[in-house]
Symmetry: C2
Subunit: 200 residues, 2 copies
Amino acid sequence: MSHMPESRPYHHGDLRAALLAAAERTLREKGVGSLSLRELAREVGVSHAAPGRHFKDKQALLNALALAGYERLGQALDAADDPALPLEPRLTALARAYLGFAIDNAELLELMYARKHDPDASEQMAAAVERTVGNLAQVVADAQKRGEIIAGDPEDLNLVTGATLHGMAAFIAGGMLTPEAALAGVETLVHHLLHGLKPR
Amino acid sequence: MSHMPESRPYHHGDLRAALLAAAERTLREKGVGSLSLRELAREVGVSHAAPGRHFKDKQALLNALALAGYERLGQALDAADDPALPLEPRLTALARAYLGFAIDNAELLELMYARKHDPDASEQMAAAVERTVGNLAQVVADAQKRGEIIAGDPEDLNLVTGATLHGMAAFIAGGMLTPEAALAGVETLVHHLLHGLKPR
DNA sequence: ACCTGAACACCGTTCAAGT
DNA sequence: ACCTGAACACCGTTCAAGT
């Protein structure tokens, strides 16, 4: 038994994917701070210079990670969105999905938030962000059409809802809010957002 | 002219303060990524091991920086808060101050958000956060007392307003929102928060 | 007390050279 | 095409030794 049984999934045609997979695991388990290309190369069983073939930069690796994150977040939001629902439950479901993602991927989400103005990657990134935000914008637009929401500038309305959700996610990622407290508070949060803090 | 005129403010009794000052300048000008203890030591004109006398860790330096940030944010909020004002303008002024801080100290704010569970520093840090949040909580509490705000759980109300402001600040720090757009939108933001998105 | 110099164990990035 | 090995210029941290 001088070598592994068989079928090493790496080393050959899939180094890029292997690096990304290892990176995400490290990210989840030890945080961004402990993410090193050399360590990743070691984990995957490759020379320390090999990652350079697939990612011109450490930042490029991080960008790819963030991009994948947006992909998965987008899917989660799509899956959670039911356009047939009335506004409040629809928004609540969406918020719950977003916060769930934040809970399960706190470190990744921080990475996604951190803007690095890489001129090349920023195009894809902007598109990914757009798609994520677009999900929320659709809900607002639909609600406006149905008269369930005031007829203000949609941009402004998206900003409030977006900022609120973003802030909640940041609270979770930052450890200022426990997952339980966050999920327990979603309903009232959305309610307050829709009905306002002033007495009616 | 082989040496500086006089009074080197550093090197002697003030290395700690000098390091913090240099660090904040670097933070503002080049971002956290370019913050190195060795570089800081060079800038201040001291050996690379000297910082270790005043900060056990690089993280300790960052913690001190964040703490100072909370100090200044707290002062800015205090200065902006006028308890005599009616709820909406009072909250607007506070929001404007918070976003102003985010605009002027984007990198620092990111540092302040980033939780590092340093068991020792977390005590001071928690207190600093508490004071910042407390400012907002006071506004909500006052408004509730006056009947200007619904009589829900104060925790929940603080969460909405806090998350919204936090999210806006993060949008600014992350470059997804220009300072102009952010400041221009404060009034309607606060209005939407207080009056809700549903038609009245 | 406060700082220096050398040392250790890491990094990211580049580049010739191998297969 | 894809990877290796060596090299370069950095890091943070520690620790004896100096003043």
